[in-house]
């Protein structure tokens, strides 16, 4: 049966949602970013310079990233932030640099190269500190992605008026929250967005990583209310009405990881007037990537192409 395009998730945006995140972002702003960006000659090629990046984020966690830029360019480059999936290791974004972008692939806390101070593990990240919005893992994890925009803004070669964000799965979820919280983002492309409609997703599918929450609730049945309350602050759907930039979203209608119903629910709540949903029937969690990658290229070219 085809998923209902009018599906509505049960999450309710908390009344103090904006105040909560304003407080978090103020805490983040107080922390000196202290960027380190060192050329990695081993990974660099004639065409692409690769840099290993570190910067400070919330709670003074040192976050890493890979930064790739073309070796030859004129003027300033459009900036792109690539945000990673849940379990995958953040890639070196050489392919984006080849297309003419200055691209940061950020490794939020707990991922490889960013795990020395915070490491809830896998499975584990999705439920770490989940009974309190102030201790939940994604409070800092989201900030790590948002700080990636500050990194791009700090780079002389990046045109601050031409910055975009993209990613799929967890990267799709981080694309949503980053586009919502950082006005410098001029375009966003989110694939198979995770972290949207959590409490619906854990009933719509029984696969990891969402299954981590079912494990947690089965083991801690008295915590359901607290879990629901915390997640309402982190649900991408709660962020959706803050997205004003052009955005495209792609979903697979047979997605076994991030249920397409939650993708519809998210998309319908996005406030941007320039938004488009691409639905791929016959496709799972890859959400039609092989077809859709060309569409992402054209979308980013349209919105970031001209200096």
């Amino acid at each position: 049966m085809a998923p209902d395009p009018n599906y509505t998730c049960r999450v309710e945006k908390p009344g103090d949602f904006d105040a909560f995140w304003e407080d978090v972002t103020k805490q983040l702003e107080k922390i000196d970013i202290d960027i380190s960006c060192v050329l990695d000659e081993f990974r660099s090629t004639e065409d692409i310079s690769v840099y290993e990046v570190f910067f400070n984020s919330l709670d003074n966690i040192r976050v890493s990233g890979w930064y790739a830029v073309p070796t030859e360019y004129t003027g300033r480059l459009p900036g792109l932030m690539l945000v990673p999936g849940y379990q995958s290791d953040p890639p070196i974004p050489k392919e984006w640099a080849k297309k003419g972008y200055a691209c940061l692939s950020v490794n939020p806390r707990g991922k490889v190269r960013s795990r020395s101070q915070f490491d809830p593990g896998y499975p584990g990240l999705l439920t770490y500190g989940i009974v309190d919005r102030n201790t939940y893992s994604y409070r800092g994890f989201y900030c790590d992605a948002w700080r990636g925009i500050d990194f791009l803004l700090d780079r002389d070669e990046v045109d601050s008026q031409r910055i975009a964000v993209t990613g799929s799965s967890q990267g799709g979820g981080l694309t949503i929250t980053t586009a919502a919280m950082r006005k410098e983002v001029k375009a966003a492309a989110a694939g198979a967005p995770y972290l949207c409609g959590y409490m619906d997703a854990i009933e719509l599918t029984h696969t990891y990583p969402y299954e981590e929450i079912n494990d947690y609730l089965r083991h801690n049945p008295g915590s359901r209310k607290a879990v629901e309350n915390t997640l309402s602050y982190f649900d991408g759907i709660s962020f959706a009405d803050k997205i004003k930039c052009p955005i495209i979203v792609n979903i697979g209608l047979q997605d076994n990881v991030c249920p397409p119903e939650t993708g519809y629910a998210l998309f319908n709540q996005i406030a941007s007037k320039n938004k488009k949903l691409y639905e791929y029937d016959g496709h799972g969690h890859e959400a039609g990537r092989y077809i859709h990658s060309r569409i992402v290229d054209e979308f980013l070219e349209e919105h970031l192409g001209q200096e």
Binding site: V112, R113, Y122, P123, T205, T207, Y208, G252, P260, H283
Partner: protein
């Protein structure tokens, strides 16, 4: 560069097996109640491989009377160890014993060696003896050794599932009866990296670019791990998940495996859909282990 099976290929792998046999498995098994359900119990398992090196794996055993068929999710080239692969129906744990193992360097098996990704594939690439993958293959074999010690296992149905290591497991451990493999970097690796600059194969390219004088050595070392030379040892029933026709590991590229593997072999060309490819693999393993009349256990959105 020509592809040449090393003259001491057999003795090299014999020595690895001999070294492994001298290391006791020494398993420690600990229940993980939070990940146990009303249809399966989950355990964390620690065991030893060559070095000696202590490894970690997740073992899930269905409730009820066995024996049960096994799916062994072999170590992969990524930092994270999953209980079962992302997107797999958790209910699969009601039908199969599942065992996922973190090789040395992966999360949970990263002390004292914490691999980087990318980075793992070129550690110690100076010689076959120092190359980290020698230990990783030993770890993969050790995982099969451990499975065979479990009384709940149906020893006629032991599947190895994963990337290149699934083929290596079947080639080097005769307990493996079924293989589902998606080769990603060890079939003719040097030749293959000339067709891509994507990771993980690009790791070899990075290494050679920085150590040009060692290019021949890299080629020689990797031949010990080339799936081409291991294929002839596989007697298991095998499913190879190839790329789409224009991919690095297309059916055409992998057609040699079809000829080299003596056991029953199916070569599947990717349909560029994780749904269609995933469903094909689940149907194949279910049919192989239970017969065509039994339906696979698949996620809600694949039904």
């Amino acid at each position: 560069m020509s592809k040449t099976r090393p003259s001491d290929f057999g003795s090299f792998w014999y020595s690895v097996g001999k070294e492994l046999a001298e290391v006791p498995i020494a398993p420690e098994v600990e229940s993980i109640p939070m990940r146990s359900t009303d249809f399966a119990d989950l355990y964390g398992v620690r065991l030893s491989s060559i070095g000696p090196y202590r490894l970690f794996g997740y073992l899930s055993i269905p409730k009820g009377d066995g024996p049960f068929p096994v799916i062994y999710y072999v170590p992969k080239n990524a930092s994270v160890l999953e209980i079962i692969p992302q997107g797999t129906s958790n209910q699969i744990r009601s039908r199969y014993i599942t065992f996922s193992l973190a090789c040395r360097g992966m999360r949970n098996s990263d002390s004292p060696y914490a691999a980087m990704y990318p980075g793992q594939l070129t550690d110690g690439l100076e010689s076959p003896e120092t190359y980290v993958y020698r230990g990783i293959v030993a770890d993969t074999i050790r995982g099969a050794d451990y499975i065979m010690t479990r009384s709940e296992v149906d020893k006629n149905k032991v599947g190895a599932w994963g990337n290149d290591n699934a083929i290596l497991a079947a080639a080097l451990h005769d307990s493996i009866t079924h293989v589902v493999s998606t080769p990603a970097y060890l079939f003719d690796p040097i030749e293959s990296l000339t067709r891509t600059d994507s990771y993980p194969l690009a790791e070899f390219g990075d290494y050679i670019r920085s150590n040009r004088s060692n290019a021949d050595t890299v080629q020689t070392v990797l031949e010990y791990f080339n799936l081409r030379w291991h294929a002839q040892s596989i007697t298991a029933s095998t499913l190879i998940m190839a790329d789409y026709k224009d991919g690095i590991y297309s059916p055409e590229t992998l057609s040699d495996l079809d000829e080299l593997i003596p056991g029953e072999m199916t070569l599947h060309e990717s349909e560029r859909s994780s749904f269609k490819d995933g469903l094909f693999a689940e149907n194949w393993i279910t049919s192989e282990m239970f017969g065509k009349e039994v339906s696979p256990i698949v996620p809600e959105h694949w039904r």
